[in-house]
Structure formats: C-alpha cells, structure tokens
C-alpha cells in the first residue's frame, strides 16, 4: 500500500520463525521465509495482532522520536482519552493532563473535546444521509486499511468525517494561534497514541492531504515518567472540558453513545470486523443498520499495544471516572459545532481510495489460470493448515505455488510422501540383489529398517497416508 512507511518493524534477532503470527494475521500479510517472518507491506493493515500473539516479542511497534518536539517553537500534546484508563481514579483528570504536559510540552489539548465535536458532527451527517449506509466509523486507521485492502467496495461507506485526533490538532492550532498570536507552522501538535496504526495515520492520513498533527508518540514509552510525576502535581481540581461522551470514545460502545444512533452495531476485534464486513459485502444489513462503530482492538483503544493497563481494568477505571467529567455539552456548544459542521470544518478533504491487494496477476486472463491452478493444487494438499510451509493456510500455499513464489515441496506432508515414495523405490532396488550373492539376512534387515520409518505417520495426518502405509507393507 502507499504508506510512507509501516510503524511495525520485525526484530530479526527475536524472531524464531515460529508460525504464530502468520496464522493470526487477518489479511494473510505474513509468511515465514528462511526461518524469519516477513511482512508484506501491501497487505499489512497494522492491526497489531502479530504483536499481541508473538511469544518472542519480535514485531516491534514504533512511534516518532520524542526529540522531534524540539523543532517547534510552541508544542501541544494531545493525549488520547485512553490515558484516563491507565491511572488510578484517585488522580484527577486535570492532574493527569498537567503531568503529561510537564513532560516538556507548552500546552495540552484534550482529544476528548474533539471527540465530543465529532460525535455531534456524526449525528448531523447520519441525519442528513439516512438512505446511505450502513455508515462505518473512520476513527480507527486499522479498520480503514482493512477495508481498503480487503473490502474495496465498502470504502464508499466509510464516514467522510475527520477522526477526533485530526480535529483535536486542528482545533488546538486554531485556538492557540488566535490566543497567543503564534503562526500555525510554529505550533507542533503531538499525539499521545495508544497504537502504532495511529502513528502511520499521522504520516499518511487517509482523509487529508496533510495531517494537522506533527508527530505521534507512544504512550507506553512515556508511561513511567508520567506515573512518577503524578504524585508531585497537587491542587489540580479544575474540571476538564471534555464530556463523558468524549471520554468513552476510546472504549467499545463509546462512539455509538456519542452518535446516539437508533440502529447501530458496536464491533471490536479485527477478526470480528472481518466477518462482519464479509457479510455486509453480501448485502446483509443494508436496510436496518445506519451506523457501525468499528474498533480494531478488543475493548477499543484501551486495548491498544501502546497502552499499559489491562484493557478490562482500564474500562473499569473509565467507568469510575464518569463523575469526573461533564455529563454533556451545553446547548451553545452544540450549536457552535453544528455551525462548524455546516461550514465543512469536520469534513474529509479527500475520498478514501481502495487499495485491493488481492489480485494474483495484473492480467485477468492470466489470473484466471492462476486461480484455477491454485484450486487444483489445493485439492492435492493435506488441508491441515499447519503452517510448516510458512504460509498461514493450505489455500494460501496453493496460491503462492500457482504464483511461483513457493514450491510443492514446501509442504511437509508432500515432502514426506515424496520421501516415502523414494524409500519404496529404494527398497525395490535393495531387494534386487543378484541371486548369486547370498545376502538374505542383509535384505531382511534393510527391509525392516526402511519399513520402520516409512510406516510412521504423523498423528495429524489422516487416512490418505494410512493407505500409503498399507501399500508399503504389502
């Protein structure tokens, strides 16, 4: 895909070549080659499933460097609402914000405030466009990429409203440049991200030509510093400006609460989303659902790889904090947001383009032949989906063989069959000793030795191999 770069890197030393990640990847973007995992960037959507499953911590999520903040005259940090689920409820939200700003930023702007505004903007949009849909939320970049790569027809249904993070940076720059008279270029907005897909979204935004954000830092890298600062920051009882709706944006169900849609779905987990999109493409839900909240991570952004607290604990902490936030926006604020919506303040600048990475050949006629060959090869493979060939499933191996990037002998079962066949031939030859040399004993011995190994069938293999065994015994 045309990202500037991915934000997940593979630590070659850490990777043991086990096949956990290839089986977990929803877009089949990983293969094991030469004992190391290899990520195909055209298919990777940065859902971070590989990071979660890898027992050796080989895929490493990366964010921007903290030093980058020095390039700007005035810096603003944009903490994701998910940060409020990372610290005990005894610390007030204001205290957390001040501690984050104390890391070396001039100011702090709550992303929750922008989420409040986006919630109202989404309400307006869905009201205006009831017939279209179901509308898919665009806040999670991994979901947007999943659609671009795997479900190109659904790109039309992604809401053309900016994500709260972009809106936060835009609002922060507007407010600060107006208040302090600093030009927008001199203000650096840095997002405190819960996941690496947001880091990529800042570098290659999908709704805008250029992001309003100047960099994304990982929350986990700054966590311990914030935690140490928190007890030192006292007397911060001033309430925060975001509402409960803005706070809840970072957990599953929060967006639907903010959108207040009558007919909605709130889905989390990339594999659940995959199944759902598959069904939408077949034409289900076209009439009755008008909004689908999509969160790539289980539990929402509080389950992102850059968060520290257990996502279930984080959800409880968010619930405990409900009273520390305003219950709703004032009528005046809502009016202001609606006016801005009418001016197109929250509108996406460009359409989301599909990047289908599924076709096996650029030439359609050739692709048909490849697909047909793949189907033929697949019928010959054992169907164990064991992953020993470095491909996630037998089907993918068949496709890779048909495309010429793998061979049939990559399949351990096929290899075994081949070895068995050779062993049979060897045995045949071994038995053909000229009768003048009386080596009966030796022949018997060879026969026994060869049979001993040839007869062994891995327990996972079924009847097909059993028959082979019988043939050999005969």
């Amino acid at each position: 895909m045309n990202y500037k770069s991915l934000s997940i890197f593979l630590d070659k030393k850490g990777c043991k070549g086990c096949t956990n990640c290839i089986k977990r990847c929803p877009t089949e973007a990983i293969r094991v080659r030469n004992g190391k995992a290899k990520i195909f960037t055209s298919r990777c959507i940065e859902c971070c499933e590989c990071i979660r499953i890898c027992p050796h911590f080989a895929p490493i999520p990366q964010a921007d460097k903290r030093e980058n903040i020095k390039q700007f005259k005035y810096t603003v940090v944009l903490p994701d609402p998910a940060v409020f689920g990372q610290f005990r409820a005894k610390y007030t939200p204001r205290q957390i914000l001040v501690a984050i700003a104390a890391l070396g930023f001039d100011n702090v702007y709550e992303v929750g405030r922008a989420a409040d505004a986006v919630g109202v903007a989404l309400q307006e949009f869905i009201k205006e466009n009831k017939s279209g849909g179901p509308w898919i939320s665009s806040a999670c970049p991994a979901v947007v990429r999943l659609i671009q790569v795997r479900f190109p027809t659904l790109t039309e249904q992604i809401l053309p409203i900016l994500s709260p993070i972009e809106v936060a940076a835009r609002q922060a720059k507007d407010e600060i440049s107006q208040r302090l008279g600093i030009s927008r270029e001199e203000i650096g907005c840095f997002y405190l991200a819960p996941c690496p897909s947001q880091v990529t979204a800042v570098k290659s935004p999908y709704h805008l030509e250029h992001s309003h954000i100047d960099g994304a830092l990982s929350f986990s890298s700054l966590y311990s510093e914030i935690r140490d600062l928190l007890p030192k920051i006292k007397n911060q009882d001033e309430p925060v400006k975001a509402t409960v709706y803005g706070l809840n944006w970072c957990r599953t169900g929060g967006q639907t609460m903010a959108v207040r849609s009558e007919y909605y779905l709130a889905v989390d987990g990339i594999h659940n989303l995959y199944k759902l999109f598959e069904e939408i493409e077949l034409g289900k839900f076209s009439n009755n659902i008008n909004f689908i909240e999509c969160q790539c991570c289980q539990g929402g952004c509080v389950g992102g790889p850059f968060t520290v607290e257990n996502p279930f604990v984080a959800r409880v902490l968010l619930r405990l904090r409900q009273t520390q936030f305003r219950p709703k926006l004032d009528a005046g604020e809502v009016q202001e947001i609606q006016d801005r919506y009418q001016q197109g303040y929250y509108r996406a600048e460009k359409k989301i383009k599909p990047f289908p990475a599924m076709s096996l050949s650029k030439n359609m006629a050739k692709a048909i032949d490849v697909v047909e060959q793949a189907e033929k090869i697949l019928s010959q493979l054992p169907g164990l989906d064991c992953g020993s060939c470095g491909c996630p499933t037998c089907r993918i191996l068949a496709e890779d063989i048909a495309c010429g990037i793998a061979t049939e002998m990559d399949c351990f079962s096929k290899l075994r069959e081949h070895v068995q066949f050779l062993a049979e031939q060897m045995l045949d030859l071994a038995l053909k000793v000229p009768p003048v040399t009386p080596v009966q004993y030796q022949i018997m011995h060879t026969q026994r030795e060869v049979l001993k190994f040839a007869k062994r069938v891995p327990p996972a293999l079924g009847k097909k191999s059993q028959k082979k065994k019988e043939r050999l015994v005969e």
Binding site: L282, G283, P354, S359, L360, K362, I368
Partner: protein, 158 residues
C-alpha cells in the same frame, strides 16, 4: 457447502468453473459459497463494484436454496468477460413466478423471518444485480424434468 470441483473445459482458454453443493436448512454455513466465489473474483482482479453485485446475487440465490430446498448446487463460471451463475435445487418449485418476482412477496416460514431472512427481496434483488436473468421452475415432476427451481444469472464485465 462442502465440496468443490474444478473442471476445465477445452473450448475457451481462460475459464474457471466453481461448483458448490448447498445443504438446505444449514444456516451455519450460509454465505460460504458466495464468499468463496467473491474471493476467487478478487484474486482474478474483477472490478470491486462488479464483485459486489455478483456476490449479492450469488448470496441471495444461495439463501433461496438454504431456505426453500433440501439440497442444491451453486455453479459459477468465470471468464474475463462474463460471470455466469447457476443455482439449481430440488426444492418445491415456485407456483407463481410473477408473484415471486414482486418485492416483499415471501413464502418463507415464520422461523426463517425471525432469523432476519425471507423478506421477499431475494429474486427481485438477484434480478436487479444481474445483466441477464433466467428462471425455470417446476412444482411437480413431468417426464424427465425433475421438480425444483433453476436460476441462471449472467453478469458482464464491461
């Protein structure tokens, strides 16, 4: 949906035939055949919007077999120019085709409707998605012709 056969016919060079058996009343695997067909089309590189139309038509046909018939087959033939889908079942047949083609007309039993299917949009939806649509149906066995419904859908890649 369980088995899938590949036959290569000699007359055209670039052609792939997919064949799915569909079991009536098996809602757990509903949509499986259509999804497989959709993936094949994605691999071949058909335009996305066309795939959507084909997938919707195939899915509706597949659901019709699952809802109304004991068993049936969904066959597809893909060439660079056209996709042809045959949905053939050994179901009860349709007594009045014109009525069945009307939007909202449904003979699906209540328990099917409770599952969210049987809204009476199946055949009209297929017709809307298809460039060419043919339906043959027999409510009883006549001579050599078995009872059941045969639907042919053609969609052109233009």
């Amino acid at each position: 949906m369980n088995k899938k056969k590949i036959e290569k016919t000699a007359d055209t060079k670039h052609k792939i035939a997919l064949d799915f058996t569909i079991e009536g009343n098996n809602f757990s695997s509903a949509g499986e055949a259509s999804i497989r067909l959709k993936h094949a089309l994605q691999h071949i590189g058909y335009p996305a919007l066309l795939i959507r139309r084909i997938a919707v038509a195939a899915y509706e046909a597949e659901m019709n077999i699952i809802i109304h018939a004991q068993r049936g087959v969904l066959k597809a033939e893909i060439t660079p120019e056209t996709v042809t889908i045959w949905a053939e079942d050994e179901g009860p047949g349709i007594p009045d085709v014109d009525l069945a083609m009307q939007e909202g007309y449904s003979t699906a039993p209540d328990y099917i409707r409770e599952m969210g299917f049987g809204a009476g949009m199946g055949l009209p939806n297929i017709k809307r998605c298809a460039d060419k649509f043919e339906i043959q149906t027999h409510v009883e066995k006549r001579g050599n012709i078995e009872k059941g419904t045969k639907v042919k859908i053609v969609i052109y890649n233009k």
